[in-house]
Symmetry: C2
Subunit: 194 residues, 2 copies
């Protein structure tokens, strides 16, 4: 019973992400959402609690999946390969879950209170993956020393792709990640490694 | 008369940008907008035509100002300086007009028809400023050859800053632009110039 409840919830989260990506969080009423998932308003609230709770679920689903898939990258010893894996993982996840990430980047700012804090903390945890990869690379002498602005630049360059990246585009997310990684790695590689 | 009409319109555009940045384009009714600008609904429509026309005005104001201020950068002969000026100009404009750019990056996708096409064409024209700067730099042998993905990476890294850049932040937009420019220029500088 609990498993089917969970899968029903996952379906609702997916449908909400699609609807909101297409028509906006504020632009879509609970009526439309009910219709999309084939549930009465009351049953929908039973599953999700509130519209804001559902927005929180969409955001949490996206960032937790990314934290999970990038967890192994921490183990990679070679700094450039670790960077490339983070880059590939992020662009692959954005391209494969475009609706979720559109809602994430565009709408997650509407969250308030503890739900907002949780999402921002998860995002911060993911940002730390990149900070650690760059700091470890610098400690090993592979990269020049980098600061938080460099991390913001690198993450922004990846994140902004939700506006133009398409899963069936001319170039795969993996190809794009290689190009992005080359652009950055050529600049941050310590001089003696060039 | 026409000048005061224009300045009234500019006030409405500014008020709309502030409101929509804070509460979302779909999350804000025309009532709230009327109150914010101190006009009756009818008078407001007389000035702006429709809510979508006003969104178009906000987007056009932002991108046309940027096209105007970056026009002189085309004249700069030195490729790295030209890049740095584009970077400074973009981050300075985003930081100084955060509400407008928030609406631009987050809401401009709701535009339809010719108004949508016009904004996308203006954005494309601005992107071409960067493409030309990079292509000219490569033609002169200062940069390695770059492609459209590199331009997307560089613009994304700047644009995404609307989510964290603050006009009164610890580091000025100009400092941030230097750091961003170093990150990229160190990577794209042709080998013989390193």
């Amino acid at each position: 019973v609990s498993r089917s409840r969970d899968s029903r919830k996952a379906e609702i989260v997916r449908a909400a992400a699609e609807l909101w990506a297409a028509s906006g969080y504020h632009g879509t009423g609970v009526e439309e959402l009910s219709r999309a998932v084939g549930l009465q308003r009351g049953a929908l609230y039973h599953h999700i609690g509130s519209k804001e709770a559902l927005l929180h679920e969409v955001g949490r689903t996206a960032i937790e999946r990314l934290l999970e898939t990038s967890a192994v990258d921490v183990e990679i010893a070679q700094p450039e390969e670790r960077f490339r894996r983070l880059s590939r993982g992020l662009l692959h996840d954005i391209a494969s879950n475009l609706a979720e990430w559109t809602v994430f980047f565009r709408e997650v700012g509407w969250l308030t209170g503890p739900q907002r804090q949780e999402i921002f903390a998860l995002r911060e945890r993911y940002e730390q993956r990149w900070c650690a990869a760059l700091a470890d690379g610098a400690a090993e002498g592979a990269f020049r020393p980098l600061d938080s602005l460099d991390v913001k630049a690198i993450l922004g360059m990846h994140n902004y792709s939700y506006l133009w990246l398409r899963p069936d585009g001319d170039r795969s997310p993996e190809d794009i990640a290689e190009r992005f990684s080359d652009l950055i790695l050529d600049g941050i590689r310590a001089k003696e490694h060039r």
